[in-house]
Amino acid sequence: MTAPPPSNNRFPFRLGLSVAAVLIALSLPLLLPLFQVTLLVNILIFAIVVTGLVLLTGILGLTSFGQAAFMGVGAYATAVMTTQLGWNPWLSLPVSLLVTGLIAWFLGLLTLRMQGHYLPLATIAWGISLFYVFGNTPALGGFTGLTDIPPISVFGLELTSPRTFAYLALVCLGLVALGAQFLLSSRTGRAMRALRGGPLVAEAFGVSAFGLRVQVFVLAALMAALAGWLYAHSQRFVNPTPFGLQAGIEYLFMAVVGGSQHVWGGLLGAGLITQIREQLRDILPGLLGQQGNFEVIVFGALVILVLQFARQGLWPLLERLLPQEGIRILPEREKLVPRSKPAPGTPLLSVQNAVKQFGGLRAVGDVSFDLNAGEILGLIGPNGAGKSTMFNLITGVNPATSGQVTFMGQDISRRSAGQIHRLGLSRTFQHVKVLPDLTLLENTMMGGYARGKAGIIRSLLHLERGEEAALQHEALRQLERVGLGAGAFTLAGNLALGQQRVLEIARALVADPTLLLLDEPAAGLRYGEKVELVTLLKKLRDEGVTILLVEHDMDLVMGLVDRLVVMNYGEKLAEGSPQQVRENADVREAYLGVDMEEEGAA
C-alpha cells in the first residue's frame, strides 16, 4: 500500500466527503421522526465518550472500562449544581469539567503507573465502585437519581426538544472530533502512537511516558464529562445505571467494533451499536418470549467476531473504499534551531568504572573509556560480552550499579533516557522499532520530538503548525540525507529490514544529535544491505557526525572507526586503533578461540 505523494491541485476527496457528512448531519434533526432524533442525540453524546476512548485505547493503547464512570461524574456534578444550587448549566459546565478532570487526574496518578492488563482491571474496579457511590449517596438521590434538571438555554432559546438539542450535541461532537483529529496529526499525537508499543522508543526521544499518559487520560475523561453534561440536560434526570460498568464496557465495544484507532471509527461504532441495540430491544423479547437485557448476547458475539475477523474494527474496511489522502506538506516558514556542537576533539562521553550487576551476574564489570567529538568509536565484542548492557547504561534505559557516565560535561549516570536525549544523544535500536502503519516521514519526525515545544492543548487547537512545518522539512532533509527521500510517503512497514535500520538512523538524525549511538545496525542484514550501510555511515562520518557504534561484526567496523573498545565477558579486553586491536592476541582468542599451539602447550 503506497500513500500517494501530496499534491496541491488534486481535488481533496476526503475534505469533500467530510463536508457532505457534516451537511447530512445538520439536516438529520429536521428530517428524521422525533423518536429517531432522540436516538440521534444519544448517538452523538456516546460518540463524544468514544472519541476519548479512541485516543486513550486505540492510539495510546490504554484499555479503560471506566469512561462511563467519568461521564457519570460530569452528569451528576451538573445535576447537583443546577438542581440544588440553582446554577445556570453554562456555569456548571466548566465546574463539572474541573471536578471530573481532578478526579481523573487523581485516579490517573494512582492507576496509570500500572502496566499491561493491570490498568483495565483497575478501571473495572473503580468503575464498579463509582457506580455504588452514586447509588448509595443520599445527596445524589440514591439509585432513583436526581430529577428536574433544567434545560440548557442558547441565546434565550430553551433546548427542550430533541431537535434543537441535537444541534448543540452536534456542535460539541464536531469540536471534540476535530480536536482529536488535530491532536493525532501533531507532535503529541505521534508521541502517543509511539507509546502504544511500549515506552522504550518514545522515552528515547524525550517523551515523558507517564506524563503523557496522564494528560491523555484526563483529556478522555473531560470528553466523557462533556458528554455527561449533555446527557444530564437532554434526559433532564440522572440515575446510576447509564454510568455503570456495563455502560463502560459498551463504550469500549463501540470503539472496538467501529475501529479504535480512528476518530471516524469511534463515531461509526457509537452509531452502529446504539442502532443495533434499539432494533434488538424491539425484536429479541418477542423472539424469546420474555423481557430482559438480551442485546448483550448479540453485542458480545459481535465483538468476538470483530476481534477474530477484523481486529482493527470496521472503519478500516470502509476506509479502503475511500480515496487515499497523503500527508499535507506545510510551507516551511522557519527552520528548527540547530544545536551548537562541541569542537572536534573535545571530550564528549566518558565512562568511568561502570559496573552493572543483575543479581549474581556481573554483566559489565569496571569498564572505562572516553569518546571525543568528531570521532567514530566502535564498541565490539562477541555475543554476551555486555555491549548491549553498556549501551543501556549510556542511554539511561537501565542505569549502572556503580561508576559514572559523563556526557557533555554532565553526570548522566542517574538521568532518564529522555533527559540524556535532550542533552544531545540520539540512538537506534538493535531490534528495529519503527511504527509500521505510519509513513517514513512521520516515523522520522518522531525523532524531532524534543526539538518541538507544542503541548497537548496547542496540538488540539492546531496552533503548532509552524513548528510542525519545520519538523516536516527537517525530516524530509534527513530522509534525503540517508537516501530514503524518494519513499518518504510510503509506509514504514513496507520497507525491508535494512531500510528500516536506515530509517531509524534518519529518525535519530532529526534530533540533531551531538552523539549518535547505533546499536548493532548490521544485525540480520544481507551482504548488500551491509555494504549500503557502510557507505552511509562513512558519509555521515565525513559530514562530522560523532558516532558510537556497537557491533559484533568485526569486518564492518574495522574499515569505519577511528578507535575500538573490545569487550568480553563484561570486561574491557582491549582498546586502540583497528590495527592495534587486530594484532591483539586476547582479542583474537575471544573471537577465534584459543590458538592451537598455545592449547598444545597447556
Partner: protein, 349 residues
Amino acid sequence: MQIFDPTIFPILAADGLTNGAVYALLALALVLVFAVTRVIFIPQGEFVVFGTLTLASLQLGRTPGTLWLVLVLLGIAAAMEAFSLVRSGQTRRGLLTVGIAALLGIGIWALTGWLAPLKAPLWVQVILTLGLVAPLGPLLYRVVYQPLQNATVLVLLIASVALHLVLTGLALVFFGPEGSRTPAFFEGNLTLGQVTLSWQSILVIVASAALMLGLYLFFERTMPGKALRATAVNRLGARLVGISPSSAGMLTFTLAALIGALGGVLIGPSVAVTYDSGFLIGLKGFVGAIIGGLVSYPLAAGGAILVGLIESFASFSLSAWKEVIVFTLILPVLLWRSLTTRHIPEDEE
C-alpha cells in the same frame, strides 16, 4: 465495634471463610488460565452461575438450557475444526470430527433428556451438572479464544468481557431472572463451644481444600499437569518439546469450567444465585488472583479467602458499601503488583 462481639464474630468469620473458600477455587482457576493461555478469564464466575442454576433446573425436573448451549457450541466447534482440517487437505479427518461430534451431541442430549425429568438423587444430578458445565470450557476455548491465540493480552481481555456478556445474557434466557438455591447436602450444625458451624459450610471448606490438593497432585505428579506448567513457564519452549498450545488451552479451560461448576454446586445451598451473579463472584476471585500477581497459587488462594472475610465483615456493618470496599481494596493491590512486576514491552503487540 459490633463485629467483634463474641456471638457475632464467629458467624461472620465462618461465613467469610465459606465464601472465601469458593473464591479461592475461582482464583486458582483464574491463575491457571492466565498462566497457560494469557487469557484474563472474566467469565469464570459464569461457570459458577451455570453450575448452580443447572442443578436448580434439574431439581425442578426441567431440562437445563445449558444443554442447548453445549450442543450449539459443539456444533460450531466441530464445524470450525472440520473446516480447518478440510482446508489443510485432511478431508477424511474433517468428516470424522463432524461424525464424532454428532454422536457426542446425540449422546449428551439423550442422557440429559432421560435423566432430567426423573428427578434423580442429588449426587446423580450433581454429576450431570458437572458433565454439562465442564465441556463449556474447552468448547468456548475452541470457538472464542483459539482463533485469537496470537492476540495481545488486551485483545484477549476484551474478548473475555464480551464472552462474559454473552453468557450472562444466555443465563437470563435459560434460567430466567429469579434467583435459585439448591438444597443443602447435609442438614444440621456442628457446635464447638461458642462456635456453631453448619455441616454445609464444613463441606464447602473441606471440598475446596480437597480440590486444591487434587490440583496440586495433578500439577506435581501427572504428565498433563507438568505439560501445563511447562506451557505456563515458557510457551515457545513448551511448543518446541511438542506440547501444543491449543490442547494445553483446552485442558486448562476444562479444569477452569469444572472448578467453576463445582464452586457453583458448593455455594448453591448458601447463596441465592441469579443469572448475573457470576461477574461479582468472579471478580472477587480476581481480587485474590491479583493479590497473587496472577502467578502464585498459594498467594491467590490466601488473597481470595481474605476477600471472603472482608466481604463478610463489611456486609454486616456497611452492607450498602460492601462492593465499594472490596473493589477499592483492589486498587492499592494492583498498584503494588504493577510496580513490583517487571513488564517487558517487547512481548506485547
